[in-house]
Amino acid sequence: MIRLPAFTYLAPTTVDGAARLMAEHGREAMLVAGGTDLYPNMKRRQFEPKVLVGLRGIPELRGIRGSAAGGFTIGAGTTLSAVAAHRDILRDFPALATAAGLVSSPQLRNMGTIGGNVCVDTRCNYYNQSYEWRKAIGFCMKKDGDICLVAPGSSRCWAVSSSDTAPVLWALGAKLRLVGAEGERTVPMAALYQDDGIDYLAKRPDEIVADLQLPPAEGWRSAYLKLRRRGSFDFPVLGVAVAARLEDDVVRDARIVLGAVASQPRPSEKAAAALVGQRVSPELIAHVADLAAGPAKPLDNTDFSHPYRKKVTRVFVARALAAVCGLGDSGVTSEEVA
């Protein structure tokens, strides 16, 4: 049996209280919500916090409020199952319901939270391994070592952002409210991340994601496609989130964000811009898919070979666009599984 290292567990009942505890214990402490990402990592000794600040007992973190017209607020402690099954989310933000419903397995979705999902640790198959394995191969810089095993000359870590909901929330224009010991702020999704495999979050450690705010749905359509080996358990090795606002068949607004191609979700601004003002057609979609897939540079540190992931990026972007633009007729489902 592989077991957790020892820690002290604190269970605050307010977000402010949690932020204060985090500030008080500094580097020794970590937040835990569902624990579905953190506990496996702790068992493999990727993290050995002395103190865990549990967010489960905080009522204000739970629940989904709002309306299609005014937008929705999702408490960070809401489970992924609850997000995926929520009637309004299903109707107005189908890509988010899809993404939440495709995370890992049914049991893990009952435990894992959306707050934990946007903060989920970056992944690399040289890193998501037991302590003994990592010791045998030689520790890398993300934990206990000082080199990168995928890109040996590199001075940074290329571990992959592997959240399903983050690219979708980004594409939907969601904001998040961060509560820290020194006050709170509301920022766009983009401000949560930075492209570094180790310090992938651009927030202070004491800052807690309190909730995710979705803008009014008005006229937006969205889709999310996920590439992975099996229809369950597996993290995305590619996620494609597309949101667009169409008038008749002219695209008025569009956002394309790719997951699992970098250490943070990666927006394809150029590709999205090429859509705006255009009438949708298979040719347009093919062109935009090329633009979006072009910059993706997967490394060989997840499942599937990286040339394959690159190849499929174009296909997935095209399919997600086709689905959003109502051309979804080429064998597309919202649950693409490879």
């Binding site: 998501n128 394995w133 358990f233 499942d303 064998g331």
Partner: protein, 817 residues
């Protein structure tokens, strides 16, 4: 005998252990907790190949809670291994480690956490040696010897057998195909991780409870390695939470737990983590194959020549047998008049490969069945019709001198062709057919393949003249019957089969039978749950024992009723004359009469397979009392933009001889199909920088409910004279055809050949790219090792010679009693 003559046989009864399993009462090895039990952990090598200079355990010993620390110095220096010819393993490595994961030291402590911490405090000074991580590496570096024994530097086994003049047969063929295939290795991935509890009691006797498929072999090895009389060792196989061949060797962790118990005077538990299960391994060998076959215009095979290179990993395990198995079973399926086989097993610095479901035969089956598909295409023949035409003849010998009894393969083919709508779909789907006019990336395909598998190895692992299976049946005055048998239930239902057969013979209910399995102190030896031998061998022994009991009871009842014993029947928990059933004696009363007449009613049954080994060196691997046959049709869709394969339906026809319980047979078939799907599409045990790339359940991909298609099982009964009530095996054979059927269906859908397993989406896209570029649309191995096989042992082909069932079967008659 027809089906409805049976009371128990053929009925879809629940398994006798089902009730305990559904309420969580079954005690697997890790569920055992004994008073004062200590917990052990192994420290495993971080190097793929290194000399051990020294081991410092002082810091571990000093850790509070640690009760013992052992290294090779604390064990007798005796090597072990499952096969007498490959005694190359050490419970704890003394001088050298040969793979990442080799055990070098062990700790027992008051709890598992402390034991693990202590392991991290042990310092081992290694002198690294070059790591040989592939067949090519190992052959290229004869100067780096992984072992000091074998058939050449890093060559564990080199075999070559020739039956008839293959070159001449190929010269006379209308078509000769030469193809190269590769089958990647994979793990059994039983849901239960190996675990064992050892208790070396103060009376000097040792008991080991272990999740093992082979308690008898573990018993023998413990005696040898621990230098303790076997008479003082008791091995109990706990119910096994999935084996598939992965728990068929004696293991280091079992030996170490025993020694730690001896040293500490406490019971010791050891439970492996999932990662350690990947190091313990004994899974499917990666095999590179070259196969050259001649065909006539009509599709008959004129001769076949097969070469296999097995990547054995760091130890022998069953490897010698595995090597033979890659060559000897293919001829059992089709008419192959002359045959040549060359095989070699190469040592590498990876976890040892061994017997996984279909042991050694799965890889060459993939090669042969894909090649047949290619030949059929070239000859313009339907691949189902071609196979139907060349099915081997029942009750004949194969080129390599194997005796084949009943063959239901023709019927299996007919039934899956019919059920799958083969003819219609083959025409409608596929590259050549005009699919829907609108361009859809999803292409459908249908593929077929067949196979055969042995029902129990004809020879034991160590040479002896004793039974392979023994049963004691003891009747109780209550009317209950105890069955003692060394067989291990690994989920396949061996306990249930023993109860069904005994109940059938004695005319009682399975519930009246109490099965006591797999305890070396109590139960007669059964060699183990491997090679699909248990139903047949234990079954035959149980029938013999039960018939002896029945005869004794009949004698007593006959006296009482004043009739001849021959007039009696046993059914409905009674013994009596059918025409005078009112006078029939209740079974419990019949037992009392019997006991009054004979004394205690306890009878043995013994079984050993017919002695039919070919009279040439190496003829001992391959013979089996009878062979099961399977035919499989797979229907799937491939997305040509992403390479994703979606299985829709699998039809599988299986010649089971007789279904003793159709529910259990279907379960075995469905499980085999499932495992075949995993191997065909996603499972692979691969290495990077000398380490297992993904020793976890997340990254080693095992299909979920969502990847598993509808499986349609069709059972064909041939009533084989060798099997218990005519039964053959079901646990392994049906895995074999699934993999090539998938490969062939993908070819049908897209016109590409993936000659390498697993067939992943990236390989499919690669082949499609080649196809678009006008190149041969094939992805598969490109090169073969430079290797000289032995001069072949040339034997005349026995092909087509008539063969009878049961010429001589030891222990079959009552004469010797």
């Amino acid at each position: 005998m027809t089906k409805n003559e049976f009371a128990v046989i053929g009925r879809p009864l629940p398994k006798v252990d089902a009730w305990a399993k559904v309420v969580g009462e079954t005690k697997y090895a890790d569920d055992l907790f004994l008073p004062r039990m200590a917990y052990a952990k192994l420290l495993r090598s971080a190097h793929a190949h290194a000399r051990i200079r020294s081991i410092d355990t002082s810091r571990a010993r000093a850790l509070p809670g640690v009760v013992a620390v052992v290294t090779a110095d604390d064990l007798p220096r005796v090597k072990f291994g499952i096969l007498p010819v490959s005694q190359d393993e050490e419970a704890l490595c003394a001088d050298k480690v040969r793979m990442v994961g080799d055990p070098v030291a062990a700790v027992a402590a008051v709890d598992e956490e402390t034991a693990e911490q202590a392991c991290r405090l042990i310092e081992v000074d290694y002198e690294p040696l070059p790591a040989l991580m592939s067949i090519f590496d190992s052959l290229a570096h004869p100067e780096v010897m992984i072992h000091e024994y074998g058939d050449g530097p890093n060559v564990h086994k080199n075999v070559a057998l020739q039956f008839g003049d293959v070159e001449a047969a190929l010269e006379g063929a209308d078509l000769v195909r030469e193809d190269v295939f590769f089958f990647e290795g994979n793990n059994h991935l039983p849901m239960e991780q190996h675990a064992a509890v050892a208790h070396w009691a103060r009376d000097g006797k040792l008991t080991l409870w272990s999740s093992t498929q082979t308690p008898h072999y573990v018993h023998r090895v413990l005696a040898k390695v621990l230098d303790t009389p076997a008479a003082h060792i008791r091995v109990i196989a706990t119910p096994v939470g999935g084996g598939f061949g992965g728990k068929t060797d004696p293991f280091a962790h079992e030996i170490v737990a025993c020694q730690l118990s001896k040293l500490t005077g406490r019971p010791v538990k050891i439970a492996l983590t999932r990662e350690e299960v990947f190091y313990t391994h004994r899974g499917r060998h990666p095999v590179l194959m070259w196969i050259r076959t001649g065909f006539t215009r009509e599709g008959d095979i004129t001769g076949c020549h097969l070469r296999t290179w097995l990547d054995g990993g760091a130890y022998g395990s069953y490897g010698v047998a595995s090597t033979f198995y890659t060559g000897v079973i293919n001829p059992v399926t089709y008419k192959i008049p002359v045959y040549k086989f060359e095989g070699a097993r190469i040592f590498t610095n990876k976890p040892p490969c061994g017997p996984k479901r279909g042991h050694g035969t799965v890889q060459p089956r993939f090669a042969l069945e894909c090649q047949l598909d290619k030949a059929a295409e070239q000859l313009g023949l339907d691949p189902a019709d071609m196979r139907r035409r060349i099915v081997a003849e029942p009750f004949t010998k194969t080129a390599n001198h194997l005796t084949v009894t009943t063959i239901g393969l023709g019927e299996c083919i007919d039934k899956v062709v019919e059920a799958s709508g083969w003819r219609d779909k083959r025409a409608r789907f596929g590259v050549s057919a005009r699919q829907a006019p609108r361009r859809s990336p999803k292409k459908r395909g249908l593929g077929i393949a067949c196979s055969a598998y042995l029902t129990g190895a004809g020879t034991a692992i160590y040479w002896n003249d004793m039974p392979h299976s023994g049963v004691i049946v003891r009747a109780d005055r209550s009317g209950g019957v105890a069955v003692l048998c060394g067989a291990t239930d690994i989920g396949q239902g061996s306990d249930s089969i023993l109860a069904y057969l005994t109940a059938e013979v004695l005319g009682i209910e399975p519930k009246d039978v109490h099965v006591h399995p797999a305890d070396t102190s109590l139960t007669p030896v059964d060699l183990g749950s491997y090679s699909s031998r248990v139903t047949l061998m234990c079954g035959m022994a149980a029938i013999q024992a039960a018939e002896r009991l029945r005869d004794a009871i009949f004698k007593a009842v006959a006296r009482k009723l004043e009739v001849s014993p021959a007039a009696l029947v046993a059914r409905e928990r009674k013994v009596g004359v059918p025409d005078d059933w009112d006078k029939a004696v209740p079974f419990a009363r019949a037992v009392e009469l019997g006991e009054a007449l004979h004394g205690v009613l306890a009878f043995p049954g013994s079984y050993a397979p017919p002695k039919r080994a070919g009279k040439y060196k190496g003829g001992g691997v391959g013979p089996s009392p009878c062979y099961s046959y399977s035919a499989c049709v797979v229907e799937l869709t491939v997305d040509e933009d992403t390479g994703t394969v979606e299985l829709e339906n699998v039809w599988i026809g299986h010649d089971i001889g007789r279904a003793l319980n159709p529910l259990l047979v279907e379960g075995q078939v469905e499980g085999s199909v499932y495992m075949g799907i995993g191997e065909a599409l996603m499972e692979e045990q691969v290495f990077r920088k000398n380490l297992h790339k993904h020793p976890s359940m997340l990254d080693y991909k095992s299909p979920t409910t969502l990847e598993t298609p509808d499986i349609h099982t069709i059972l064909v009964e041939t009533d084989d004279p060798e099997g218990p009530f005519g039964a053959k095996e079901a646990g392994q054979g049906p895995l074999l055809p699934v993999i090539p059927a998938i490969a062939n269906a993908i070819h049908h859908a897209l016109g590409i050949r993936i000659d390498e397993v697993p067939i992943t989406p990236d390989k499919i896209l690669k082949a499609l790219d080649l196809k678009r570029a006008g190149k041969p649309a094939r992805v598969g191995p490109e090169r073969l090792p430079l290797f000289t096989f032995k001069e072949p042992l040339v034997v005349e082909s026995a092909f087509g010679q008539p063969a009878e069932a049961v010429v001589s079967r030891p222990f079959a008659s009552d004469d010797k009693r």
